[in-house]
């Protein structure tokens, strides 16, 4: 997307991240649900900005998307990273998620020298088509992983080897 500016995230953007995650159209694809869960998750998430592992997409002068590498705390696992992306609901369907994903892959590859990216998603999550476009491959599928108000959803895990 041509007007999208991508910068390293800063901790002060936490309120935007929190707002995006609280929106039900985002929240249905994430583990956190209660206000308390969302607030503590947003804190952990934006905290990766201190390692320059988080990117913020800006449009119209304000944050509209976050994409973040959740770097592994253990040395033996540090050649890989999980990541999460969220896009403000008012700015969907215009390629922002795809741009965030490509930039995140590039960050992982060139700055962190990672070998592998892992993405864990709920079945039918819209990010799946973006992952497939970037050549991510499924390596695990677990039924009933999510239980939200009595309704079960599967989780799917994807990987991409980049180095």
């Amino acid at each position: 997307m041509k007007d999208l500016q991508i910068k390293y995230s800063t901790f002060s953007e936490k309120e935007f991240l929190e707002k995006f995650l609280k929106d039900p159209s985002s929240n249905e694809w994430f583990l956190m649900k209660t206000e308390k869960e969302i607030e503590s998750s947003a804190f952990n998430w934006i905290n990766f900005s201190k390692y320059n592992a988080s990117l913020t997409g800006y449009l119209d002068g304000k944050p509209v998307a976050f994409g973040t590498l959740f770097l592994m705390p253990y040395k033996k696992l540090s050649h890989q990273s999980m990541f999460y992306i969220v896009v403000d609901k008012d700015y969907r369907k215009r390629g922002i998620g795809s741009d965030m994903l490509k930039n995140l892959i590039n960050l992982a590859k060139t700055y962190f020298n990672l070998e592998c990216l892992i993405c864990e998603v709920f079945e039918n999550c819209p990010i799946i088509s973006l992952l497939e476009k970037q050549n991510f491959k499924e390596f695990a599928y677990q039924k009933k992983y999510i239980k939200d108000e009595g309704k079960y959803t599967s989780r799917i895990m994807f990987e991409l080897w980049i180095n």
């Binding site: 583990l31 869960e37 695990a140 599928y141």
Partner: protein, 162 residues
């Protein structure tokens, strides 16, 4: 064999956990690498013991193994949990692992009302045979998940409905 007893893990078991994890033949199957990472893992293990989510096996009152339910904090995933198990390498092949997992399953069902258990095991770990025997089935495998000295281990994801 002297009588095997299972009780909830206590804070004082931390030195045993640290000792077992520091055994190179055990540590190679865990993601921890150095003393700092081991201390961190032990701290987390003991933290779960405060909500009675961890069991310790004793022989002659001495801890010889432990199994831990990583009880989930998010509402949407509270119906299952990952677990971890460790047995002192001097007390292998005595049924301690089996007993610990069976007791952990009871705890998972009765106290935490879990529907299934998850585990993650690195390929080559002899414990995989135990998990197969206890009815865990694989739902995925991550290639080259763990890296040490330029060698890699694959990780197998398993589950069992309770």
């Amino acid at each position: 064999m002297d009588k095997l007893k299972i009780r909830f893990t206590e804070k004082e078991d931390c030195d045993y956990l640290k000792k077992w994890l520091s055994d190179k033949d055990i540590l190679k199957w865990f993601p921890m690498y150095n003393e700092m990472e081991i201390d961190d893992a032990v701290r987390i293990w003991i933290a779960y013991s405060k909500i009675n989510a961890s069991l310790t096996a004793l022989i002659n009152k001495k801890p010889v193994g432990s199994a831990l339910l990583y009880v989930q904090s998010f509402e949407k995933v509270k119906h299952h949990a990952l677990f971890a198990i460790i047995v002192d390498s001097n007390y292998r092949n005595k049924g301690i692992g089996t007993k610990l997992i069976n007791e952990l399953i009871i705890l998972a069902k009765e106290k935490f009302e879990l529907e299934f258990l998850n585990l993650e095991v690195y390929a080559g770990n002899p414990a995989k045979r135990l998990y197969d025997r206890l009815g865990f089935t694989s739902f995925g495998m991550q290639k080259k998940c763990l890296k040490e000295n330029d060698g890699y281990l694959d990780k197998i994801f398993m589950q069992k409905y309770l």
